[in-house]
């Protein structure tokens, strides 16, 4: 393996790293990406076998602590109300994601001005708009144009079918006159760019054997590689190294054989997600940066946001065929998205309609909820639930709080002996009230849709899918880690392009916005390359 110095070194090959690397390629700089995980193969995904649900609970579980694969690092989550979830491979967490693809709304970027809480972003929706559109084309997004909750945009592909479960739930929203709209989904409703259309396998959350779901290993990476970007899988970065003047000059990493290697680079780009990125910065202490890299503000690892989730399930008399079709992509609702202080909380949440679960998951969830007993009554109770449920997820806006953190665990280490992250996260009173509101409203709409019974999990512990805020962007170096172009205030040749830079979280899934931002940063580097380090 050659460790020739490169122009741009991207760490992390997930949603943001892939988009960034693809965009920066061809700008005259050599580009290398290191990821600690392997390349995945569609033929190895669980939906190829009858044991798809069993494997989804083990080697394809969404928690790295459950999987414990060689590519994973442990996360101490003992002091967190929510478990952080991710996947470590080329493609990152998009290997397992549901591909529900809303954008942040224009108002989400100016929360302090509008609602007096949190902070405003230093960029706005309009700045990201062309990058949202470009990213939609690269990922292959299906959706219906014209949602009144958003500025007009046209997804490149027609929407996915709602199926019986979606139709049933949407009818409930119609009945109450509430906003709903078929989701933008990063899943192909038609053949697109050499990829096949979705055939409704169901278990998107264990990888898509059909390749219809947009994970970046099959969207951005093949094109980026054709443009000359090199990807080295199985390489875990231990720390970012610095020159005497404090600028980044490369990384130390462990290669696939576990050998420590040194890679020099002119520009270092972090795309390790909202937990991996602060972990790496905090692990990169030096004489020049004694509190960790890019941390003169003390904000690296602070303001962790997850989106607390409530799950509300309706039981219906009719079969809903919900186990078929992309589990997390049906429709969304922004009925309760904007601040209405009469509700007793600030900001709001969206609903995401979920299809059904497979049989084993139905039985396990039914057991936990007390609906499905063991013994004689098992089959009757199972038959009442299986294929007869539809679910709404309430995705609530998490306000940034500096007590919610990613720090380095003093004892826990990964397989290379690198200090592991510790997550400290407590649900705020505002979030608690919002979750309770979501449960009440979801119960109302599920009943309107015909549910004969509902059951709610007011705070899902295993729902830390969205990792944001731990290296926030802003104009003031004392109050932020990176500027509006993702450039670290303290280290001008260090950029961050993942969800760590989020100033606030909005109440929708973040990846469309994360990737749009990564494309925007790449573009701004290309445009400003001559003056990039001027005030360094």
């Amino acid at each position: 393996m050659s460790n020739e110095p490169v122009g741009v070194l991207v760490i992390g090959a997930g949603a943001s790293g892939a988009a960034f690397a693809w965009s920066i390629a061809g700008a005259g700089m050599s580009v290398l990406c290191l990821d600690q995980g392997p390349w995945m193969k569609q033929r190895d995904y669980p939906s190829n076998g009858l044991d798809w649900e069993e494997r989804g609970l083990g080697e394809f579980a969404t928690s790295p602590n459950v999987r414990g694969l060689p590519a994973d690092y442990p996360v101490n989550e003992q002091d967190s109300d929510i478990s952080p979830l991710m996947f470590n491979a080329v493609g990152g967490s998009t290997i397992l994601w549901a591909a529900h693809f809303p954008r942040l709304t224009p108002k989400d970027f100016r929360m302090k001005s509008d609602d007096g809480v949190g902070a405003d972003w230093p960029i706005d929706y309009q700045t990201l708009e062309p990058y949202f559109a470009l990213n939609d084309r690269m990922m292959g997004v299906s959706g219906l144009s014209g949602d009144p909750a958003y500025p007009y945009h046209e997804p490149p592909l027609p929407p996915l079918p709602l199926g019986k479960s979606g139709n049933t739930l949407a009818a409930g929203f119609e009945k109450l006159g509430w906003h709903w709209w078929p989701s933008d989904s990063a899943i192909l409703s038609r053949e697109y760019e050499g990829r096949e259309a979705c055939i409704n396998l169901g278990p998107c959350l264990t990888g898509c054997a059909q390749g219809a779901k947009a994970s970046t290993d099959i969207t951005y990476w093949p094109v980026a590689q054709r443009k000359g970007v090199k990807v080295r899988s199985g390489c875990r970065v231990r720390e970012i190294t610095v020159r005497e003047d404090g600028m980044a000059d490369g990384v130390l990493y462990y290669d696939e054989e576990g050998q420590l290697q040194e890679q020099k680079a002119e520009i270092v780009v972090l795309a390790c997600n909202g937990i991996g990125t602060p972990r790496l910065l905090l692990n990169s202490k030096s004489q020049q940066h004694p509190d960790g890299l890019a941390n003169s503000s003390g904000l690296v690892g602070k303001n962790l946001m997850f989106h607390p989730y409530a799950m509300i399930t309706g039981i219906f008399e009719e079969p809903l065929h919900g186990r078929r079709g992309p589990v997390g992509c049906s429709f969304w609702s922004h009925e309760f998205y904007q601040t209405d202080r009469s509700r007793g909380f600030v900001r709001g949440y969206s609903f995401e309609a979920i299809r059904g679960l497979g049989p084993a998951q139905t039985a396990l969830q039914g057991m936990v909820q007390g609906f499905i007993p063991w013994g004689e009554d098992h089959h009757r109770a199972f038959a009442r639930l299986y294929d007869h449920t539809a679910t709404l997820l309430g995705i609530t806006e998490d306000l940034p709080e500096d007590t919610n953190t990613v720090t380095l665990d003093p004892e826990l280490k990964d397989s290379h002996g690198i200090p592991a992250p510790k997550v400290t996260y407590r649900l705020s009173e505002n979030s608690r009230k919002m979750l309770a509101h979501a449960v009440e409203r979801a119960t109302e709409v599920l009943t309107a849709a015909g549910a004969v019974e509902t059951v709610a999990e007011p705070l899902m512990r295993g729902a830390g899918w969205h990792l944001m805020g731990t290296a926030r962007m802003g104009r003031d170096p004392k109050a932020s880690v990176v500027n509006e172009r993702g450039q670290a205030h303290d280290v001008k040749n260090l950029f961050i392009v993942d969800g760590s830079v989020f100033v606030t979280a909005g109440g929708v899934n973040p990846t469309s916005t994360i990737q749009a931002f990564a494309l925007y940063v790449a573009d701004s580097i290309k445009k400003n390359i001559e003056t990039l380090f001027d005030d360094a």
């Binding site: 396998l201 396990l364 299986y386």
Partner: protein, 150 residues
């Protein structure tokens, strides 16, 4: 008299226990979990689980001992209703016994072709055939389009 094998390693006991946890359905279209021969795989998975494994092991041991004190053949020789009572009597002391078993038994049971057919699913993996899904209700879409004009 020889000691009985440890409960988890006693195939007759485990078959009987799994048949109590998921018995055959009344109409007979769904088999009991023990009769499907799932014990070996389920026991291997339970024993590999550092958290649940020891709890299930202790619970099954207690059930086996109690059953043997009531019937020379233990659980395997008892009528289902009597067997259920023996298990239930141990749940206060071993609250994770059933949950621990079901964590591994449900996935094993509900991937078995015979069970899939019994619950109306095709006995095949999702890929490569996939499934059909109903189209979006045209009337609902019309309403959305009307709303868009507003």
């Amino acid at each position: 008299m020889t000691e009985p094998p440890a409960a988890l390693n006693d195939p007759r006991f485990m078959k009987a226990l799994l048949d109590l946890v998921i018995p055959p359905s009344a109409p007979g279209d769904l088999p009991g979990a023990g009769a499907l021969g799932l014990s070996a795989a389920v026991v291997t998975a339970i024993q590999a689980d550092p958290a649940l494994g020891p709890l299930v092991e202790a619970g099954t041991q207690a059930v086996q001992e109690s059953a043997l004190s009531q019937h020379p053949e233990g659980l395997a020789g008892m009528a289902p209703q009597a067997g259920v009572k023996v298990v239930e009597a141990q749940l206060a002391a071993h609250p994770f016994l059933i949950m621990g078993i079901l964590r591994y038994l449900y996935p094993a049971y509900y991937q078995h072709p015979q069970v899939l057919e019994g619950i109306g699913e095709p006995p095949r993996p999702p890929f490569p055939e996939g499934f059909d899904v109903e189209a979006t209700d045209a009337e609902l879409l019309e309403k959305l389009r009307a709303r868009r004009k507003v």
